[in-house]
Amino acid sequence: MSETAEKPKDIMFAQALNMAMNKAMADDPKVILLGEDIADKEGGGVFKVTAGLSGTYGTDRVRSTPISEQAIVGAAVGAALVGYKPVAEIMLMNFITVAMDQIVNHAAKLRFMSGGQTSVPLTIRTTTGAGTGLGGQHSDMLEAWLAHVPGLKVVAASNPQDAYGLLYSSIMDDNPVIFIENTPGYFVKGPAPAADHTVPLGKASIPREGTDITLIGYGSSISRCHAAADKLAEDGISCEIVDLRTIAPFDEETVLKSVAKTKAAVVVHEAVRSFGAGAEISSRIHEELFSDLRAPVGRVGSGYAPVPFSPTIEKAWMFSQDDIEREVHKILG
């Protein structure tokens, strides 16, 4: 099969993120990057996501920092208060735990507590995700903690095009945004975005239309939803997929409209199932559509345990395509 000239080149997720930051920095001199090892002298980021940017924009704007997560986020908060649009890289999501005071007590609240006199247009990029044996402190999905804090937006992309559009929108947004990347997903390829491709925050997408059940997910769960939907189609089950893209505040309108049509839903995420974001989404669906549902909304997530190291336990713990299929069959009887 020959490539046509129109077919967009495939790029990796990490490249899409790099392109988004590059565009944001070119468009707005107030965009600055802070994080451990992010400048080229230190390697352009541990996953090379910021590679080349310090060369183009200088180390004043692309600053490698000490291993000081509170200081990184705090500096980003302070600069944001006076008109900068900082992008702070917290290398791994578990490291956010040592900067939670700056995120929860300050970034999220300063607009409100100042009565709107100040704002914190800050983006925190962070990566995480299980499946590659990183163990208990390098792969947690902690989005539910952050989604629970009023004043924060939480974003996760499922493909390079969305990653590009969502990261650019996050940087330009006037609110603090936590942008969650997926470590194993950095090297997954997908169609490259056009330079002017945008994705608004707060707007879900429907990458697959269907009639029997809605699968709702975000970030790393979307590829598994697609795989499960392909398999279920063989059994004659038509799945619609809603990719939230913004986890908080989530696009209730798109979710409810889809479920009102299919009358059945499963929420799918990699995070631990108990008290996860899926509980809130499921609950909202029940509140609005209870009498229309064919069965209670299902939830698929990972097990109630820290992320295990050994591949056998990690695999057993982690949510899977099989779990999604099983849940769908259970709901549809």
Binding site: P66, S68, Q70, A71, G74, A79, G115, Q117
Partner: protein, 327 residues
């Protein structure tokens, strides 16, 4: 000994004017809370007036300030208009933050007051960000970051000062060392003999000064400000002081030995500064006029706070994000 030679007459009058406003405001707050006219948690500042007044006399209105829950002295010294400040303390819609911040979260960008935090030590990393913005903008501004001795035991202090030092940020870290973190004396919580030593350990220019001595405090402040504006980087000022009314109002200071409190009150910076003005041939009548003017400002501001309305309940949906949250 007070070092009057280190600041000229006009500067001392300026410092006194600010410090007297703080002292009288603190007295009035305690009075009104005691009388049940205000129902708020209050962190008294009596005893620490001169530290802030001398510091803020050395900076400009558009320089930035980050302070903490015990911040009334810093906020008044920086120039927040009393009416808005009092109204915010009272939770009224006419306050600096529409009543949504309260005493622990005073913000007033018009006078450079960017953050007041209720979390010990957390202002330090944020001050760095303001300093970073000034460094990138080349706007010549400095950021003053106030905190107490207790804050030097939390991680944010060490992370923050280290980052400020490596990036040579124009930030003045003003540690108002009143010797007590909540109810515990510094000697029981702090491994180093001084806070200055901690700054030195982080490679930072660090000075210790009697913060209650207006001339010495002003000289230290001015030097740090000039150092920062010249691009040389941050300074840690350890300003020795004392608080006369405990951690928060209602605290009996039972953990402070009687002799220590008596000595501190004997060293009360306010009568000393007043006497300095008299010694400089400023007349009793001129000083009394400053005090009367401050009293009038406070009378008007406190009445304004009492008379103002509380914000409407629906206000909670505004300023959470940049769009109003649906009801």
């Amino acid at each position: 000994m007070a070092s009057t030679d280190m600041a000229d007459k006009d500067v001392l009058v300026d410092i006194f004017t600010r410090a007297d406003l703080i002292m009288q405001s603190d007295i009035k707050f305690r009075q009104m809370i005691g009388a049940g006219q205000l129902q708020i948690v209050y962190y008294p500042v009596r005893g620490q007036e001169v530290v802030s007044s001398a510091m803020m006399a050395a900076v400009n209105q558009d320089d930035y300030l980050v302070t903490i829950y015990r911040g009334l002295h810093d906020q008044l010294a920086k120039g927040i208009p009393s009416k808005e400040l009092w109204a915010e303390f009272a939770g009224k819609v006419t306050g600096t933050c529409k009543g949504k911040g309260g005493p622990m979260h005073i913000t007033h960008p018009a006078t450079g007051v960017m953050v007041t935090t209720g979390i010990v030590g957390s202002g330090i990393p944020i001050a760095n960000g303001l300093g970073l913005a000034s460094q990138l903008e080349k706007d010549g501004k400095v950021t003053v970051c106030c905190f107490g001795d207790g804050a030097t035991n939390i991680g944010a202090f060490h992370e923050g000062l280290n980052m400020a030092q490596i990036w040579k940020l124009p930030v003045i870290f003003l540690c108002q060392n009143n010797l007590y973190g909540e109810h515990t004396h510094m000697r029981d919580t702090t491994g180093s003999a001084s806070i200055k030593q901690r700054g030195e350990g982080l490679g930072m220019r660090s000075v210790q000064v009697n913060g209650n001595d207006a001339g010495a405090m002003y000289a230290a402040a001015k030097e740090a400000v000039e150092y920062a504006r010249a691009g040389h980087g941050p300074t840690l000022i350890e300003a020795m002081t004392f608080r006369f009314h405990g951690h928060l109002l209602g605290d009996t200071s039972h953990y402070i030995p009687k002799e220590e409190m008596e000595q501190a009150k004997k060293d009360d910076p306010m009568p000393i500064l007043r006497q300095q003005l008299l010694d400089l041939q400023i007349s009793e009548a001129d000083i009394a006029a400053i005090e009367a003017k401050n009293a009038a400002i406070i009378a008007e501001a406190s009445q304004f706070a009492l008379d103002s309305d509380y914000p409407p309940g629906d206000e909670y949906r505004i300023d959470v994000l940049d769009v109003e949250i649906a009801a």
